[in-house]
Amino acid sequence: MKTLKEMLAEARQVVPEQGPAEVKKRIDAGEPLVLIDVRDPDEYRDGFIEPATNISRGFLEFRIGGAAADPTTPIVLYCQSGLRSMLASKVLKDLGYENVTNLQGGFQKWAQSGLPVAKDRPMNAEQIQRYSRHFLLNQVGEKGQRKLLRSKVLLIGAGGLGSPTALYLAAAGVGTMGLMDGDVVDVSNLQRQILHTTANVGRPKVESGTEMIRALNPDVNVIPLPTRITVDNVMDIIKDYDLVIDGSDNFDTRYLMNDACYLAGKTNVHGSIFQFEGMATVLAPNQGPCYRCLYPTPPPPGLVPS
């Protein structure tokens, strides 16, 4: 009879291990790897590594085909301490998966290294109904919905661009939304800024917008920021968000957001509109150009309408 020790030693001969930092690097680099948490569902819910799929070890052989159809797919497995997943990795090797790695030290070591962990709360009956159409989309599903609910988005401007963005993101269940705008609602805004209503003319846009978003979807935690973004507050504000959406109405803010997001490593979704012409792009630090790659310096005041 084999001892556990012998089984682990056998597995280690065929399954390479990588530490948390190495695995994190692979995830961040965008490698199309499949990360699988082989712990039990309650352990997974208490905290897991993004973007892991939970397949408990007992179901691994049955469900691995759904997570990784191609035997050459790079797979990384983890459990709590790295032992269960080592044995599970060996099983995948035996099944013919060629590129399987075990996360050395497991979730425990990952969390102790200070790397980010995600947490899921079970969805309630109302949420299951509300997002049921998302569940039908393979690329979203329940897992995607949980991810949306955990997402934090900062909207700069609650005006013409910020309004539809805020409403659609709120409806979709983006869990945390920072809403930043220093203006008050003017009656001339209402023909396009659909986040605000006639009754709210004269009130801060952020107040009006917060009420509207909460009325649409109470799942959304709106963080009202009723001030203008400035060089002094920008870094402190953007650090809490996964994604920044710049719907600002002036070059001053646009350059500030571009520079701050680049320096903080935050992706900045940029939109702008002039009369009948709209444009959009995504400024992702080091993955593509920034706004200054296109226009190195702001236009002189007065040249273009701000």
């Binding site: 719907g247 600002s248 001053d252 012409e277 150009p289």
Partner: protein, 76 residues
């Protein structure tokens, strides 16, 4: 973007002409000489934003929200 699915508009500018009802896509490249993200950046913090005269004043309600068409022409 949030779900990590699809193809985000990184390095692409999508424009929409609401009168002509046309979408257009322009490829955008990184500028190695970019003062912020280029090979030899001159902007390494936000201090240039403290010079009030480098930027135009904040926009008012109801004003156009964006770069004028001439800036779009520069890219194309």
């Amino acid at each position: 973007m949030l779900l990590g699915i699809g193809e985000p508009l990184i390095g692409r500018l999508l424009t929409y002409d609401a009168l002509g009802m046309r979408f257009r896509e322009v490829k955008l490249r990184r500028d190695p000489k970019c003062p912020l993200c280029g090979e030899h950046p001159t902007i390494t913090d936000l201090s240039i934003h403290r010079d009030a005269d480098t930027a135009c004043p904040a926009g008012d309600n109801g004003q156009p929200l964006a770069p004028a068409p001439e800036s779009a022409a520069k890219i194309g």
